[in-house]
Point group: C2
Chain length 86, copies 2
């Protein structure tokens, strides 16, 4: 898995999920820092039809295993910090 | 939706997802800062069986709409920041 390749591929994700994995729209989840295994599993589930979403079912259909692996590596490589409300 | 109630309910989520929404295990996604609409949709999809996961299908089955709304409000209330690799 190559995060640099994933970063390039993420140009097709960034309108909704952000290049840095902070989503631009409420219906899309933040992906920043999500694990390799989680992102791969979801993209493959969208690709196979096991998980369904109007947008993601279309996008994932054309991704190869390598591209999925690289995309997951990119989003996993982003560090996140969380701050709970007081 | 009451984030304070959601925080209390999140005691049943925190072993995997963290009370602050930073996941403790790679197979579970971070939930910190995810939107109300996204979290509600996913929990309802797990509850109905539309989305499947061994753990979440069981957990979600017992949640009411109000509890789902409160849990979503809690995780949405957490602020996240992302830092991309250099």
């Amino acid at each position: 898995a190559d995060p640099e390749e994933g970063r390039k591929l993420a140009t097709q994700c960034k309108t909704c999920h952000g290049l840095d994995g902070i989503a631009k729209i409420p219906v899309a989840p933040h992906l920043a820092g999500e694990s390799q295994i989680y992102i791969e599993k979801q993209l493959k589930a969208f690709r196979s039809g096991k998980r369904e979403n109007d947008m993601m079912s279309v996008v994932a259909k054309n991704l190869t295993d390598q591209q999925i692996s690289d995309l997951a590596a990119w989003y996993q490589s982003i560090e996140i910090t969380a701050k709970m409300p007081e």
